[in-house]
Symmetry: C2
Subunit: 295 residues, 2 copies
């Protein structure tokens, strides 16, 4: 009977199976914006690991909308998804009864595993490098402190400047909530219009690096001769054609995605890990190119 079924390549109906067994083959990946290079690449890497393990991956894009995020989580739960990788943007509720791992953006109080870049170490490395070049009036162009990446990087900038004795010379230009090129361009333009404008910029993301670069260039200033620029992420990851090449932290999108997926897989087989509060940070490493003034 079973042999006959196999020969006719019978496949059980997954919906009926999900109803009866209270579980589906799905794992969700929920991100605020799939068009941001960072998330696109991380999602792809995570998907590879999860498919390898036999799960069917469903990607959900929340457009940075907490309600959409909550709906997506609810849908995944009621679809009997096995778990979810979540870069939260306001829609998370601690009562979520679905195995989950946070990546990039956490809910602070949650006990689920979390993995992210070393926001603080990375920003400090960037600031310290600029300080080493002799810069004192340094500006940070970054995201609003409404999520983990935004908050940690902004706080780290203040701390690093204070530690360098430059707290009073720190400037901050926050972008809109959409982490877009345009918003960082506006913020940078405003900072450059100050009476005593910064001599160096730290861009808090890949998109922000583009916007900051564009604004500096539009103002007629040269990089790095007139203004130095370093960035938390490399906006030019695949191209390598920006001029000047940007000093950034080394790209870790793939590692982040793959390790987030691994954490979830581990959690699915050992459920105590899912409430362990484990936190993984990928070590930050600086890649020195031309925009900081080296060479």
């Amino acid at each position: 009977m079973q042999a006959a079924a196999a020969r006719l390549d019978y496949e059980p109906d997954p919906v009926a199976r999900a109803l009866r067994m209270r579980m589906s083959p799905f794992v969700g990946i929920v991100v605020p914006d799939i068009t941001i290079p960072f998330f696109g690449i991380a999602v792809k890497a995570a998907q590879d690991v999860l498919e390898e393990a036999g799960y069917q991956v469903l990607i959900v894009n929340t457009h940075r909308d907490g309600l959409r995020e909550r709906d997506a989580l609810k849908t995944l739960l009621s679809s009997r998804a096995q778990g979810v990788l979540l870069a939260t943007y306001g829609g998370y509720e601690p009562s979520l009864r679905l195995p989950h791992v946070f990546f990039a953006n956490f809910a602070e109080a949650a006990t689920a595993p979390r993995i992210a870049l070393s926001n603080r170490d990375g920003i400090r490395a960037l600031v310290d490098h600029l300080v080493g070049h002799g810069h004192e009036r340094i500006a940070y162009v970054g995201g609003m402190p409404g999520n983990t990446s935004g908050s940690e990087r902004l706080a780290a900038f203040s701390e690093a400047m204070a530690a360098a004795g430059l707290g009073a010379r720190a400037l901050t230009g926050l972008s809109d909530a959409d982490w877009s090129v345009e918003s960082s361009q506006r913020a940078t333009t405003e900072l450059l219009a100050l009476d005593d404008p910064p001599t160096a910029f730290v861009a808090g993301s890949d998109n922000f690096a583009l916007g900051t670069l564009k604004a500096i260039r539009t103002s007629g200033r040269r990089i790095p001769e007139d203004v130095a620029l370093v960035a938390f992420q490399d906006p030019d990851r695949v191209g390598g054609i920006l001029e000047p090449a940007l000093t950034t932290l080394v790209s870790q999108e793939e590692e982040l995605g793959a390790q987030a997926a691994s954490l979830l897989l581990q959690g699915l087989s050992r459920s105590e890990l899912l409430v362990s509060g484990i936190e993984v940070r990928l070590p930050a490493r600086l890649v020195i190119r031309r925009s900081c003034g080296c060479e």
Copy 2:
């Protein structure tokens, strides 16, 4: 009773509902590579339209693997998805019993609605513009002719060159199947190493524009003084910081995604549309910037 249920905000279990009603709230979007900017943006736009209409969107990334695509389609079908937006890459089978609309890449013989950029018109506009600048030895750096975008653009290049009386001076450098920056860089470098290298390049996609630009620059040539460059898509859509700014076709990722979604929605309410063979092409329009030699 119903009132009581509403007050307790009871929600029917979607899995049981799907089993009983033979349909779920899902619509799938299946793409070869979500990290390619073109697909990321188109998917996001399509998702907006579909969610607005009340569907839950599931994005599936096939990594340009026909088997993964087939599996994804099978999973969507057996999960009782209502329909799917498909940028196919080899996994489509005509027997697919799931309402579907092709976007960007078709199966030639299929009768499902299809929507794409005007590959032929676009390439012709690019070639004609270079011819107008006096170029005769023109090279095309594009994708393998294994899918709609690759085939049509390649064919259009040959046709446009022939129509300009330059058939014998047409050069073609095909990238690897992954449509990556690196592969187009290699192809361009080979073309530039010829005894009689091209004086102008047509890049067949956003990523290819980056690779071609990089290779030309690496060879020590200036754009557009030594070599002209135009591209089918704008790799610099959000940034606008490439130097020189590239002459490309106008970006239509959003329109493509949104209209593909609309076609599917129409098809879901009027099923005869799903086998109508409707084909939509977004009109190509040239945006002249600096890399072609204008100004």
